[in-house]
Amino acid sequence: MTTPDPPPSDSLRSVPRADPAVELRSAVALLGRFPALAGCDLEVASGEIVLLRGPNGAGKTTVLRVCAGLVPVVEGSARVLGVDLRKDQSGVRQRVGLVGHSGGLYGDLTVVENAVFFAQASGLTHSDAMQALDRMGVATRLHPVAVHSLSAGQKKRVSFAAMLSRRPELWLLDEPHSGLDESARDDLDALLAAAAGAGATVLMASHELDRAGDVAIRTVDVVGGVTT
């Protein structure tokens, strides 16, 4: 059941360049006592856009949460942005951005309050937050609306804005295209391409192969807690 390394990793090793952004080796991660990751190997070079593809429950979300330093790796090794997560699990948190299934927002706060809170929590300013909302195309009329009354797509834009304002080096996106309308998906693709162009790395999970595949440089299949 050992899986060969994906081809790009070999070519990476031959050419001296920056450390890979993500490097999981036989990583095991538990949710409760369930091994959500069962010896997962994954390598993502910096600047890459990688799509994790797989059915529900394959472990895609856990890969993202492991890379964010939110779920510990109990066996194997995990390095993200040069940080050894088995030694310093939280060392990478401030440098990554995660847009998960749940929005990671406060439903009772307004769009602006959420965006400003998370920007300030990362040491940024009010105007950084407003710029990010602007960049994500969140209409001004929505600014004073409580997040819980937004549609799924609008909420996703706010989550992206909260992440974007922090300028993370590694973007971890769970089903980023779901819930978005066609024009928003185009915007998102453009955003991801621009982010990768600016040196950020994007790791996203999706079971929607048709769409997310377009922007991804490389697709990795995940099933049964391992990459295949």
């Binding site: 409760g32 006592r33 369930f34 091994p35 069962a38 099933v223 049964g224 807690g225 391992v226």
Partner: protein, 247 residues
């Protein structure tokens, strides 16, 4: 520090625990002889002094256990070593057992002395509140999570709880208008003489030996069950990986 298995010995015993086990049994027999037969009834306490030969050792051992839990919790959060996590948990379980017995013995003593099982006597109240505190600790440990979260969460409770012991003592003492300082051993009557005093200290010694014996065994059980869980994990991982081969 690694005691490897001698082939003849099964389960969690080792030469050291065998000696402790034999000492425990001899000690308990001696305690029965001294506590129930040889030593006389007390001038003030009457026959009820014999309950103190059980009461004082169990409560002392329980507090000792909780101190070990507290210290183990601090060291676990600092060093993150499995040893201290499991030692803390093992000690807490034994502490809860002995605390339960302390409350029971206290109630028996109360029934004779006051005619009722329960009175709002400071020691009984404090013991009961702390008993429930540590039941919380054990409940949290029984919730399935990964080892690290379980260790962290229970260590935090172990530390919070031990800080609470002196505060609860003071609060309950003052609440009952008991303003003089009292220690765990205050129930060992300083007026006790001869075989009474001897029986009291014999009880303490015997229960400390039993505690050491139980703690070693319990720790080893905890250690083994972590290893068994590791084997279970390997199987779970294999099963998880097999999910992929169907599709």
């Amino acid at each position: 520090m690694t005691t490897t298995f001698a082939p003849k010995i099964i389960g969690t015993s080792s030469p050291a625990t065998r000696i402790l086990g034999v000492l425990s049994i001899i000690g308990l027999i001696a305690l029965v002889v001294f506590g129930l037969v040889i030593s006389p009834a007390d001038f003030e306490l009457g026959e009820t002094i014999r309950i103190l030969y059980m009461h004082v050792p169990t409560v002392s051992v329980a507090y000792l256990a909780f101190i070990i839990t507290g210290v183990g919790s601090v060291i676990y959060l600092w060093k993150r070593s499995e040893f201290w996590d499991l030692l803390a948990a093992s000690a807490a379980e034994i502490g809860v057992l002995f605390f339960g017995l302390t409350i029971f013995n206290g109630m028996m003593w109360g029934k004779i002395t006051w005619g009722v099982f329960w009175r709002w006597e400071p020691r009984l109240v404090t013991t009961t509140v702390l008993f429930i505190t540590y039941i919380g600790y054990l409940v949290v440990r029984s919730i399935p999570t990964d080892t690290r979260t379980r260790g962290t969460v229970s260590a935090v409770i172990g530390i919070m709880a031990i800080v609470n012991i002196p505060i609860t003592h003071k609060a309950v003492d003052w609440w009952r208008g008991l303003h003089q300082s009292s220690t765990i051993f205050a129930t060992v009557d300083p007026d006790m003489r001869g075989t009474q005093l001897f029986s009291a200290y014999l009880g303490l010694t015997v229960f400390l030996v039993i505690f050491a014996w139980l703690l070693i065994h319990r720790f080893r059980v905890a250690w083994l069950s972590e290893r068994a869980r590791g084997i279970g994990l390997d199987e779970a991982i294999a099963a998880r990986r097999a999910e992929g081969s169907f599709s």
